[in-house]
Symmetry: C2
Subunit: 773 residues, 2 copies
């Protein structure tokens, strides 16, 4: 039986949160012109409530349902079949552009990182070699730590002071965006710039991070920018793609951008498509999928092409992603049936370690939210982590005696001799004197015997905690590569142990395949993706033979991990109290009906409404909704009236701004009729109501909303069960769902927050508290 542990009525909640909410009015256009300093303060973790039983009301929703008002229908009806064809072609063009630009960005990041990191390693290596002979290696350590901290400082300052939303990998934010939550400033040009510079700094700064995750965010920003044909930040409007200036179309392009990002990061176009679908889509559309696929394809192709030129092998298209796991040779690839239980066991280990990682990171994040919320503290923490990373690495290199002979093919780029004999190098040093991508590849492909088991064990342990500490810092960085690296290290360790147990039987001889399985297990245990991750791994390794084991491992890791704690991204989404809608309503929620779920009473507007009323309604800071049902005639205060349509705050703002008043229309006959273009020009940053001046005379005028409201909004009867409401809402990506009684009279309104606040907790169905912050 469903057990509703907490049930608070909307009205009482509104009272509770009312006063608190006055500080941050929930206006659709709440982005008042502020100082940049103030602006940057807004997204800081200080405002994040650190209670996961809260649901924030500060997030607005995106509207994936077309507003079919008369203007829209007229435009659609005017358009010929050729017009729609052209539109379709321009969608393809935009997707091509998205793919191209995303690929270019990936290429830029890759080249800059490679050059800068190369310089750093060279300098440090020479310094170490100099001081190995004469003693005084502590100077090298300081040099190294200063180098790292300096890079990380630049990155952290950029992120913490200019664009806090650019921190981390950006995947949770993109997940939210695709889910329909408007995270402020997440797809802006400035975010992109900070992200790109930030990720370069943090990777070059030697943090335990990857540059792959941020590519997904970058791709999404590119998509959101290109598809709109203008940049609000640069104040340029190219007057193209105006048709795409609405949430529905923009969402489609953003999913293409995210897919292009994955594709560029891992050279996995199909994996990118699946990522976009797994994380974002609700309604699967074939044409859209193909466009996403196209964007992914172009993205990986662009990256590949420019990197091939950079590597002086123009036309060689064999390194399709930022990370290339290297090709597994066929003989090392074969696996046997009796190895599958082993793989599954490794999946379980990955799930356990992933859960541990997530729990530690969760505590750390709570700590950060409470105590490390000022930019200077954040920058200092990042620098501290960078210095510690350098110190730990240095200590481990220093105390490690794991000397390996220099191979004839010299595949170590920066071999460090240190205290090893001539012709040998320190193998621990290679693990740290490399970008993490190359370390992963070495773990997959180096000959058996390259690594000492003890080295690997210590490395795994250290890197695990370093990576866990690093994720959540105010730097742009991803968690994919560190996870893969940790997993590859303990996976290879497993392989070595197996080989020594079985006495070097040829089957077990290759630890590389166990490194691959371990990497998959660890990553799966942390992020809990299955289908898309399988395909990404398969595409990145260039070999499908391992598809089945990887799937099994990822599933095991997910099942084991989910038993303890959610995935890392979900934890961070929850910590920000985002009203995230999952795939289905909680199983035991058939008890609830729309009547209990909806917000009520609803502020309704008349079809012909007094301007003063509208301004008052919009200015009322305790109003929570951005959509207003339009009714035939508002009767009493609480008497329900017959539904005629639905109008949004943003539309009313535009109407007020253009002063579309009936009296004025009569007096000035020549006044231009308001067009869809006027709404599109204002999209997506509609001005706040405070910025619109309405004189006392004008307040007495009337506005006719008939032409602008959505005359056929989706409705549900008030007896509808929550799962049914949820299904309709989620499948169509709605923002407002009007609840009517059996006479088609408005009795309530269901929004995302009303649905997201029910979730299955440990004690059955729980209801989250709504908070204004």
């Amino acid at each position: 039986m469903a057990n509703i542990t907490k049930k608070v009525s909307w009205s009482s909640r509104a009272e509770e949160s009312g006063p608190a909410g006055e500080g941050t009015p929930l206006l659709n256009g709440s982005e008042q012109p502020r100082q940049s300093r103030q602006d940057s303060l807004r997204g800081r973790p200080k405002e994040i409530p650190h209670n996961e039983k809260l649901l924030s009301l500060k997030f607005e929703s995106l509207d994936y349902d077309n507003i079919e008002n008369q203007l829209f229908l007229e435009e659609e009806r005017r358009m010929s079949y050729m017009g729609f064809r052209c539109l379709e072609i321009s969608r393809w063009v935009v997707c091509g552009l998205i793919g191209f630009l995303t690929g270019l960005i990936a290429c830029f990041i890759d080249i800059v990182v490679e050059e800068l990191a190369g310089i750093k390693y060279q300098v440090v290596k020479e310094n170490i070699e100099k001081f190995t002979e004469v003693g005084g290696l502590s100077i090298s350590l300081i040099l190294w730590a200063v180098f790292n901290s300096a890079f990380v400082m630049v990155g952290a300052i950029l992120v913490a002071c200019f664009e806090p939303i650019a921190a981390g990998s950006g995947i949770p934010q993109i997940k939210c965006y695709l889910n329909g939550v408007k995270i402020p400033r997440v797809v802006r040009l400035k975010t992109l710039l900070v992200k790109v510079c930030g990720v370069i700094c943090s990777v070059v700064g030697g943090l335990a991070v990857g540059k792959e995750g941020p590519m997904i965010h970058s791709g999404a920003v590119v998509a959101a920018g290109v598809s709109q044909g203008r940049s609000t930040s640069l104040k340029r409007d190219f007057k193209i793609f105006e048709y795409f200036r609405r949430d529905t179309e923009k969402r489609d392009f953003v999913s293409a951008g995210a897919a292009a990002g994955v594709s560029a990061a891992f050279g996995a176009p199909v994996g990118g498509v699946l990522f976009s679908l797994e994380e974002g889509a609700s309604f699967w559309n074939q044409m859209l999928t193909w466009r996403i696929f196209f964007a992914s394809m172009i993205s990986t192709f662009t990256l590949n092409f420019f990197l091939s030129i950079y590597h002086n092998k123009p036309g060689d298209l064999s390194s399709p992603g930022l990370i290339n796991f290297g090709r597994f040779e066929n003989d090392s690839v074969a696996y046997n049936l009796y190895e599958i239980p082993l793989f599954i066991a490794m999946g379980a280990i990955g799930g356990l370690l992933g859960a541990l990682f997530n729990v530690l990171n969760y505590w750390l994040t709570i700590f950060r939210i409470r105590y490390v919320h000022r930019p200077c503290l954040q920058v200092m923490e990042a620098m501290l982590v960078a210095a510690v990373t350098a110190t730990v690495s240095f200590t481990m290199i220093y105390f490690s005696n794991d000397c390996q002979p220099l191979g004839p093919d010299h595949n170590e780029e920066y071999p460090l001799q240190l205290f090893c004999a001539d012709g040998e190098y320190n193998s621990m040093a290679t693990a740290f004197f490399n970008t993490p991508e190359k370390s992963v590849r070495s773990l997959f492909h180096n000959q058996p015997g390259t690594y000492n088991p003890l080295t690997l064990g210590v490395f795994t342990l250290t890197y695990f905690f370093l990576a866990c500490w690093t994720y959540g810092l105010a730097v742009s960085a991803g968690v994919f590569i560190p996870s893969l690296l940790i997993g590859a290290a303990w996976g290879r360790l497993c392989g070595i142990l197996l080989a020594s147990i079985t006495g070097n039987d040829s089957t077990w001889a290759n630890p590389g395949k166990y490194a691959l399985i371990g990497a998959a297990a660890q990553l799966g245990g942390i992020v809990r993706m299955t289908l898309s991750l399988t395909v990404i791994m398969v595409e990145a390794t260039g070999n499908v033979t391992y598809g089945l084991p990887i799937m099994l491992v990822l599933m095991t890791a997910k099942i084991v991990g989910d038993y303890f704690v959610e995935g890392l991204y979900d934890i961070h989404i929850k910590l920000q109290s985002v009203p995230f809608l999952h795939w289905e309503a909680p199983a035991t929620s058939h008890w609830l009906t729309a009547r209990e779920v909806m917000s009520s009473p609803v502020t309704c507007l008349n079809q012909i409404e007094k301007v003063g009323t509208i301004v008052d309604v919009l200015s009322n800071t305790s109003t929570n909704h951005n959509g207003f049902p339009v009714v035939a005639q508002v009767a009493g205060s609480d008497e329900p009236a017959k539904l005629c349509g639905l109008i949004l705050r943003s539309q009313l703002i535009v109407l007020l701004k253009h002063k579309v008043f009936m009296e004025l229309a009569r007096s000035r006959l020549t006044q231009r009729k308001l067009q869809l273009k006027d709404f599109r020009d204002a999209y997506p940053r509609f001005p706040p109501i405070q910025s619109i001046h309405v004189s006392q005379d004008e307040r007495e005028c009337m506005m006719d909303l008939t032409e602008f409201m959505n005359a056929t909004p989706y409705t549900v009867p008030q007896e509808t069960s929550l799962p049914r409401v949820f299904k309709l809402f989620r499948a169509l990506g709605l923002r407002h769902l009007v609840v009517v009684n059996d006479e088609n009279k408005v009795v309530g309104l269901v929004t995302r927050k009303d649905l997201a606040r029910y979730h299955l907790g440990k004690h059955g169905l729980e209801e989250l508290q709504l908070a204004q912050t």
Copy 2:
């Protein structure tokens, strides 16, 4: 501007089609107990209208929306959280079973085909060798032709006389099922048996067919059977999985089954998932996708495991599918940037050839519908094709002088010396003396110089026409492998020509990769799949390097092909006048509103209705709908009344059968309350109204529908535009959508046929005619 070329009101259409419809009453339970003979007559092409401007009314829809009546809600509310967990676990178990059984079936087909074909080739080869010396090869020809025709005859008799729906690959039927159209008898046990035997016969019979397509159908049947926990044909009810006895759940399992089929056929689990999604799904659900993935995984694993035992290499899991394209070695795999235009050109050729194939097959199908509709004619045609195939093959082998030296590794299983010198074999003969799967693999992997260009050219041409003639015969067979074979042949030809033009430059030396590209182009040109086919090809070749070229080729083939004609499956769906819903409403259909689209007037029932009225409504053969809005009080004849709910014909039938009359309930207080189980037991073959006896007294009783109707059906206002109605209908997989006026009174009903009849033709928006046949 939208140009509606034909607009017929529903009422006039109903009159036109009324008399014709009396022969085949459109009842939900129209499957009266008939003779098997009569039964088998029903699905025959005779009844297929050969006008593609018609939309058949004989197909019913599936209902992917849960019927949320009081019984359902009570059950859901009674169920604890653990109950839902158990349900989820049993879904996984069912998916595992589906995968396992599908893999077993694939394994069975593969082994039987290999054994039988081996015997056939051996006998014919010995016979040919005997007569090559002494002359009189015509006897061998006759032997061969008789062999082939005999096998094909068995297959064709099975299909034509016992289960006509088992003809072909079954992919169009499964597409329709997943789209929501109930194709009669498509997921029955008998269909599966006929399909399996039929495909073995037709492959062994040497037709230009593959055994891969039918696997998808087989998987779907297995899924539909296993998930219901009973077999109506075998009259066994295992009393398990009763919860899954409704369209929604069954659809989910059938998509898993189809995916498992693809996975077993091509060893492509991810491709299978994408196939199911690309062809079927509308609402993407993460958990469902994972289950589908699991089924695919188990399926390929099972096949792999049992085949490894059959091949005496137990535990070796390297041949995951029925067809294994063989591994492309790394050195032959590399491609250069300047080859991409070539690949695209090959894609265009594939599109052209594919369109030609489809057009020829379209004409042939029209011819077959008109003239070849009796089972004996169909069997004779199939035998004729078998004999012709044998003759053509023989003639080509006979006249071909393309002798090749026997390789040292002897990779030809049945080398035929014929007139070649000792130590040589006839290379044309290998192309025919092989299952098509092996021929494809030879074309991909054999050394340069194995095939004579002329041989390949003639082979391509012949096989093209043979395959085109074969598809649509009354045999179970797929078109994937013939398409791949044709493409591989002309692709390899291109490769050889390129090599000779460029003077054996090493880049162009390997014709195998062009064979691969050609195969992809040809298959893409015929079936027009992109994303799923790319992944299938990548997984089947075991190499992701060719992912990008294959994608490009498939996209080009699709674009070029779509310019001329639709894909093969779509052509066949259209020829059967199936009310298939595409992804979106036609672009220029914003002109139409629900008012014009809906069927009206609607037969409504009162909440408390007289039994006699219900029986009369259900018995009325001119009634087209299976769903009846329940209203508060039917006023006049045409006066709309307030909507209370929606009830289905099938529910009414069950109510009548159990005599749930108010008077009886009062008199017999102990009468068992009707439960959801009673509805599930009757699913999916509800008895026809004629089989239910209602006495004259009972006709005067009253029935209370309140408890059984869906009290919260989805509704749209009558002003809603067609695209909006379409989106709601398609996204939620509805069967009936009630159209109401602004007072929530029923004015019409939208069903699948109402939406499917608008399509974009050459002259703008066209409306299809509705026909009863």
